[in-house]
């Protein structure tokens, strides 16, 4: 009987708290949204399942949770005993040490086509303008009482780049990583809901009808030289971004060089899928009730929504500003694609543009600031990391 009651005390039911239950329900909601509504399924399914796994109450004395890392214990007799960490803690090490996000950037580089950006370089500035969402949100987080490092990690949500957000949060504010990751990916899935009203509010019908001339053909030499040169230019000015941009442009070079097609194919398929599974699952498992269900998480979600809105507005307004000086006008809707949720925000631009003129094809033009935004958000993360460390 004693053994049986002892066993009962070690079950999850005995030590389940209300917080654990709420987080398990949240995890199931994420999985449901991903499967039923197709909201970022490649991330929300692993994150949701990770949240369910990570919130099963742990058995005291057993290394099971993400936070049960390896340790060395000093006994009373002076002996030192090594205690291995949990499996989840070793998987989570890729997040904590900032390993997974650069590997994802490698895969992203191997699947990105920069030719739309190369054919119309002035659209790169729209990717820069959208980063105003990062820095204004950073300021807003300080105003709300977060410290500088936490504010930097929260601000990068406005970059609309999941790996970048996770990378910077792991470096600056690991205690907020779960909330920041979930906010970033949730709002990326909601880009088709958040952006269109702001785009229509800030543009006139005439502006939305602007047609842009077709992009020029880009030569193979340009596409091969670009990743190396772009890496040197960006990281010599902003060295904090060297890891993320190095992997991004390395992946792109693997793709464009045409002599490493096997490596590029692996990077953009198997490798990125493996890392995405491990990243999503371990981030989800880290969202335990005591770290996630806090008033701070609500503030982070609020600031995250604001950052996306400001980034969208920043890109659109900067496009309108550029039009004051350009003879060949830019459709200001394209500025919204500076929010680097690739390719969703470019698709939103296409959709909103076609609502005014079904024969106006803005998608390829929007891809230019879209990919420029990826570079811009990585630079913003590098700047914040180097200043706030």
């Amino acid at each position: 009987m004693d053994i049986f009651s002892e066993f009962l005390n070690t079950t999850g039911f005995a030590s389940m708290t209300l917080g654990n239950l709420i987080m398990i329900v949240i995890g199931i909601v994420f999985i449901s949204l991903a499967i039923i509504k197709d909201y970022e399924p490649l991330l929300l399914v692993p994150i949701g399942m990770g949240a369910v796994v990570g919130n099963i109450p742990m058995v005291p004395g057993m290394s099971m949770s993400v936070y049960d890392g390896e340790s060395w214990l000093l006994g009373d007799d002076g002996t030192i005993t090594y205690v291995a960490g949990s499996v989840l803690s070793y998987l989570y090490a890729g997040v904590e040490l900032g390993i997974y996000p650069p590997l994802i950037f490698l895969g992203i580089g191997a699947m990105t086509d920069f030719s739309t950006m190369l054919s119309n370089p002035k659209l790169v500035l729209l990717g820069a303008a959208a980063q105003v969402g990062v820095f204004l949100t950073f300021f807003g987080a300080i105003w709300l009482g977060f410290d500088f490092r936490e504010a930097g990690a929260i601000g990068i949500i406005g970059g609309a780049d999941g790996p970048t957000a996770i990378f910077l949060a792991a470096k600056l504010a690991p205690n907020l990583l779960g909330a920041i990751a979930i906010a970033a990916y949730s709002y990326m899935a909601l880009v088709p809901v958040i952006q269109p009203p702001i785009m229509k509010l800030l543009t006139t019908k005439e502006e939305r009808l602007i047609r842009m001339s077709p992009p020029r053909k880009v030569t193979k030499r340009e596409k091969i030289i670009f990743p190396v040169a772009a890496f040197l230019i960006t990281t010599l000015i902003a060295p904090g971004a060297v890891v993320l941009l190095g992997m991004l442009f390395f992946g792109n070079l693997l793709k464009e060089s045409m002599v490493t097609e096997r490596l590029a194919a692996t990077a953009r398929t198997s490798m990125i899928d493996i890392v995405t599974i491990l990243l999503g699952f371990s981030v989800g498992a880290s969202t335990q009730a005591d770290t996630f269900l806090t008033p701070q998480s609500l503030q982070i979600f609020g600031l995250g929504a604001l950052s996306f809105a400001i980034a969208t507005a920043g890109g659109v307004l900067f496009a309108k500003l550029m039009n004051l000086f350009l003879t060949e006008k830019i459709n200001p809707l394209v500025g919204a694609a500076g929010v680097s949720a690739v390719p969703d925000s470019a698709r939103v631009v296409q959709m909103v543009g076609q609502q005014e003129d079904p024969h106006n094809f803005l998608l390829m033009h929007a891809m230019a600031p879209n990919v420029a935004g990826v570079v811009g958000s990585a630079i913003a993360a590098g700047v914040l990391w180097s200043v706030l460390t």
């Binding site: 950006m117 030569t219 340009e222 040169a229 706030l388």
Partner: protein
């Protein structure tokens, strides 16, 4: 006396640090955004200049056909054939629809 002074000083320090924190935060935000702009302006200028430089280089080192560029062009040809097939299908479907509508109107 000392215990009465200390809380007032602590409060004064708090009142100074919040505006100072906001000022420092604003400075970091402005400088950070400027750095992002500077980097991407340089990148944009490089991209704009690259075709001109490569145009000059073309006279010295013309872009030649190599095995991997042939493979890439073969992939491009396949993509063009697929595109033509898709366009052909759409045209055929549209013609069929017009023929069907035309015969319905006559009766």
């Amino acid at each position: 006396m000392a215990p009465l002074v200390q809380p007032v000083l602590a409060q004064a320090e708090l009142e100074i640090s919040q505006p100072q924190g906001l000022a420092d935060g604003a400075t970091i935000a402005i400088v950070g955004l400027l750095i992002v702009f500077v980097v991407l302006i340089f990148l944009s200028l490089f991209i704009a200049t690259l075709p001109k430089v490569l145009g000059l280089l073309e006279h010295v080192l013309p872009e030649s056909e190599e095995h991997h560029s042939i493979a890439h062009e073969e992939q491009d040809e396949d993509a063009e054939l697929e595109l033509l097939a898709a366009i052909g299908f759409v045209l055929h479907t549209e013609f069929q629809r017009q023929v069907t509508t035309g015969s319905g109107g006559k009766s």
